[in-house]
Structures are given as C-alpha cells and as structure tokens.
Symmetry: C2
Subunit: 365 residues, 2 copies
C-alpha cells in the first residue's frame, strides 16, 4: 500500500521507517530529512500543498506535524477522502470535524500516541471489562535515564510546552463533576520495577477522556523523579513561569523567556542520550457484584540499536500500527475518533500485540 507521512520530526521518522518494512512510504517535510532507507522523501512546505488533491495518490495518511498545524491538516485530509491517523496533539477538539468525516466516508483517529493515545485505549478497555467502572487513573512520564541534580529531568518535547503543562489548571472528573486543580498539585508517590519511586502530580492531560469514559472519577497525573515537582513549584511561585513582561532596569522582559534562556538547553536530550517512558493505567469498579480492577504498566527505554528515543517509540509505533489497521480496513468506521473509541472496534489485541513485537510492552496485572 502507499502510505503518506506528513512531518519528518523525531516521531514522523519512526512512523515512516516502521511502515517502510512492508509498505511504500512517502515522507513530506519542509526541511531536508535523510538517512531513512526505503522511504521516499519529498521536500515540500505542507502549508503550500493542495493537500486534498495530494493525499489522493496515497492509501493512508499519517500526520506527525506540529500541534498548531494539526486541525487544518485533519480538515484537508478529510476532504481527500483518505483514512488518517494523527499524533499532532492539536489544541482544538478534533471531534468537531466528525460529521464531515462521516459525510466523506473517512475514518480518522487523532491523539494516536502514548498519552494521549494508548492511555485512552487502556482506560476505555478497563471500563469495558466491568459492569460498573468507578475510577480511572492514568500516570505517565517521559524521563531521562540519568538523573542529574537538581531537576533530574529532560524534556521529550518542547520545554515551553512543559512549562505550559506546569501552569495550566488541570481538569479532572471526581464523582461525575468536572473539577479544576492547580497544576503540580496533589503529589503521590508510585513505585515501578527497575525505575524505583516516582512522584505524580496533576496536569491537564485528559482531553476527550473527561467526557467519553463511563467512570464517574477520571484523573491523569504526570510523573517525574521525586523532588522535581517541588522545584517547579518554587520557580513558579517566584514568578519565573510568568509570561507578562516585567521591568528590569531599562528593559522589559518576560520571566519565562529569561528562564528559558537559562534552563532549556540543559533540558534538551542530546543525540544518543537515553530516555524512558513510564505509564500506569488503573481502572477500578465492580463486575458481577464484586470489586474489579485492571492495571497496565509500561516501562519503555531508549533503543540504542535504532537510536529511537523512548518518547518517539511509544508515540510513533501506535500511530504506525493504526495506519496499518486503516490500510487493511480493520479500522474503517467513518468519523473522527479519539483512541478510546478503538476499544470498541475489535483492534485492541492487535495493537497491544503489535506494540509488544516492537518492544513496547503494556504489561497487564
């Protein structure tokens, strides 16, 4: 089949290489991307392409573009009539385009990475395995393998987005009510084999799950090595996360911009630097009148053989597998679907097994 991958960043490249093992793959990016065997590369500015026409030459389209381009690209791919899966983490609600996708007979899956992504699928799966799901808890963190004082942290994505995550109020659902908690609040400690103890705190990561899951209580927390959260709370409290410029002598400067200058270079993974991804999804409730619970743990690591970071593996592989499911028509229901919708579409076991073949092992307990 002919697969089109839009965006050749770290994750887009993983998706393209994965698909290239048994498909014809074309990768489009405005930058020059090389070193991808068996992938046809086209240097094009996505914004200047006539995407509805361009996509028609392919059987399946995968989006791995910056979040700001996500929604407009989804809209245009729907017009092409081709199936689509996307990991852009767009700020808009993609489901607003679902009616148009149904009209065009297009099956599109968005938020198709690890969290959002596999976290949604596992949460929905857990709920579907019991009569009365009660509580869904998702814990997820991308971390450097090596812990260095003082922050013990590097950012698997743009550091500015990390600071955004540490400031935006977190929405969660408690006993059927949507409540708002301060970011970095309500720290819990969790133990993971090999990784040890991590701390988890509220961030605004639930997106569609806050509405779609049948459980009355749904929360997601971000995980870091213990101690990180307190330091972030201190920097935030001092005002260093503030974006409004303040007067410093003659100059006017945004404290967050200054912090970025001082901090972000050391928060960036160097080539070949090992990261890891840790996730736990827990669903509790009752089934056949008895307490029931399901839990999945992920502990994925940088792969020195391929040079793929754990963040790109855990995010890119689900998208590549969903692209294959779209190509084989195992997924074909028209509409714009968040990943939790896949739990009802008979592809759960395939996804889990195909991820395991790639070393991304969601262990059920």
């Amino acid at each position: 089949m002919r697969m089109l991958v839009l965006g050749g960043g770290r994750i887009g490249r993983v998706i393209a290489l994965d698909l290239a093992s048994d498909h014809d793959v074309t990768l489009v990016d405005s930058r020059t991307i090389d070193g991808l065997p068996n992938v046809e590369f086209l240097k094009r500015d996505i914004a200047s392409l006539d995407l509805p026409a361009f996509c028609r030459d392919y059987d399946v389209v995968v989006g791995a573009l910056p979040s700001a381009l996500g929604y407009a690209t989804l809209q245009q791919v729907i017009e092409s009539g081709r199936p689509y899966c996307d990991i852009s983490f767009m700020p808009e609600d993609a489901r607003a385009l679902s009616a148009r996708a149904r009209e065009r007979g297009v099956c599109a899956v968005y938020d198709c990475g690890v969290a959002p992504g596999m976290s949604n699928l596992l949460a929905a799966r857990g709920c579907s395995l019991m009569d009365t799901p009660q509580t869904v808890r998702i814990y997820v963190g991308g971390l450097p393998k090596t812990r260095r004082w003082p922050f013990q942290y590097k950012a698997g994505f743009a550091p500015f987005d990390v600071i955004e995550e540490y400031t935006r109020p977190a929405r969660l659902k408690i006993n059927g009510e949507i409540v708002v908690r301060e970011a970095l609040s309500e720290i819990e400690l969790l133990d993971f084999d090999d990784v040890g103890t991590l701390e988890a705190f509220n961030t605004d990561g639930l997106r569609s799950l806050i509405e779609t899951l049948p459980a009355p209580t749904v929360l997601e927390k971000t995980m870091r090595y213990p101690g990180h959260t307190e330091l972030m709370r201190v920097l935030r409290d001092v005002g260093l996360f503030d974006t409004d410029p303040i007067a410093v002598g003659e100059a006017k400067v945004s404290p967050r911009d200054m912090l970025a200058e001082l901090l972000f270079e050391r928060w960036t993974f160097q080539p070949g630097e090992a990261d890891l991804t840790v996730m736990r999804v827990m669903v509790e409730g009752t089934h056949l009148g008895k307490p029931a619970s399901h839990r999945w743990d992920l502990h994925d690591r940088y792969d020195p053989q391929t040079g793929f970071t754990s963040m790109s593996r855990t995010t890119g592989f689900p998208a590549a597998i969903v692209a294959r499911l779209l190509a084989s028509k195992a997924l074909k229901t028209p509409g714009v679907h968040p990943p939790e919708a896949l739990a009802e579409m008979g592809v759960f076991d395939t996804l889990i097994e195909d991820l395991k073949k790639r070393g991304v092992d969601y262990i059920k307990r």
Copy 2:
C-alpha cells in the same frame, strides 16, 4: 557626654536611643528621621560635612553608615582626634588606618556589631582561655520568626548583599592554611533550644579573624531554616544569581536583576514583623594538658515593646556599649581595632553584662 551618631538607619536609631538614656546624643542623616525622644537630629549630607572639624564638638563618634561610606568616614574621624566605633561593614581593611590613628592618639573599633562583632570577641575570648586553641567555629543567622514556604527567609539587610553572600567564595582556615570553599557548601545541621534545627553552610564572613586568631582552624557558617540552602543552590545553578546580562529576545538583562525584581520584595521584613538572631561560637583545644572547650549561644528576638528588630538590637547594642566604654576611657588604646582586640582590653565582662541587661544574652555553656 556628647555623642555623635552618623547615620539614622535601623541600627543607627537603636544606637542613638540607647545612648540617649544618659548622654547628649546628636544623630545626623541626609533623610528626615523623627520619633527619637531625647535625640537631637541634624539633617545633613554626611559627604558634604567637614567631618574632622564637625566631630570635634563631640566626645565620641559612632558610625552606622552604608558600607561604601565606612572607610572614608573612619579616615576623617581619625583626623578629628575623637574616639570612634563603627558598624558599617566596610569592604576595605580598616587596619590600614591604624598607624595614623596611633599618631593621632585615636582609639577606633570597627566591625562592632554581632557578626562581625561579638563573634570576634567571643572567639578571641575562647582562645584566651586555653593554652592551645585548636578549632574556632562561628555559626550565625538572622531569620524571620515565621517560616513561610518556600524560602523560610527574610533579609535583615539588603537582599543584594545576601545573594552576594551566596556567591562569593568563602575563605576559611584549616590546619593553618587558608582554603577557599564554594558558598552554600558543606551543610551541617545544628539544634537550638526553641528555634529547633537549623542548617549552616560556608560563607565568606571571617574577615580579620582569619589572620588574628591563634587557632589553626577557624571557620564561620551562616544559618538558615533547613531547605533554604538547597533552593539557593538550585537558583544559583540555573544561573539566576549571574550578574552578566544575557540576551532575552530583544533585551539584555542581568539574571540577578530580574530575580531581584521577582524575589526581593517578599524577602523584606514588614514593619513590626518579628525576626530572630541565632549565633553559636565554639572554641576547642587543650588547656593544662587536657581537652578544653568553650561555647556561647545567642538566641535573640524582635522586641515588640521598642519595635527594635533582633538584627538591629544585636548589631546596635554592642556599638552603643563600646561607645560608652570609649566615653569612660575604659577603652583608649590608640589604633584601629577589630573586636577581637577588645578581649585583651579588660572590657569583656562589661560587654557581656551590659548586653544581657538589654536582653541580648550570650549564654556560656
């Protein structure tokens, strides 16, 4: 007697009021200072005064001016021929003026506060009480009574000087060698009655003591509530204490200046806000062939009756008492003396007792 106090800041006012109980006191400041009963106030710019002539109308002069004015003022008071004591914490080595003071028959004491000041006197006293002093350790901290997250700190003096204290390499003497340690390093925990556990770390506070004390090992550490030091180390490590401007967008800004804008207002004591001063001076060695040790503890608090902060009490009262000793000629040896020199001048017991009368109690253990 006629006493002249130069500088009407927080400490100068405490000195003036203290002396006014039994002397004629004149206070000079460029700002308007009121509310000081029995004190004659003169609004004058010190820099424009002919100090050698002006001081001749008084019996004793006390300096409580900003550190930048300390040395030049000392020089001019020596020319007036009047005895002088000073708490300005001048950066220069005042002893360079000692020869001239001897020529003029002037007895001048500098660094005449708590630390430097009483710490010097107690350290020298401890050494004088044994044949072979070995180790002198001075621990001192000015703290807010109320501990607020995250820093549990307010600055009893200019916050910029606090950051300077946290960055300047600390000089200490170990086994007779002068060694340099990073500021904020080598944290120790110490327990104090009422106050609880404090942490102590290296700062560059020994000044003359590094040369004058007979003990081969001499160190001084600053104390804070536990946790403060780690946060300061983190801010320093991020680069927020750096003074060289960095580019932030179009602007060039010193990170320390930005931090000052964000942090220093909340590091400033509000009127009536209670502070405390904690000090421990320990001298160990041998006497008559046996191990010997002497220790003094100070735990002083804000005085709600007078509204005097602990920092101004513990700094101002020693200067006022030394001024009295100069007036009575109990102190009269010509020269410029650091406080440790007073231990040999027969005034130790008077100082300790007169401080105790004012509630500043150095408890010997």
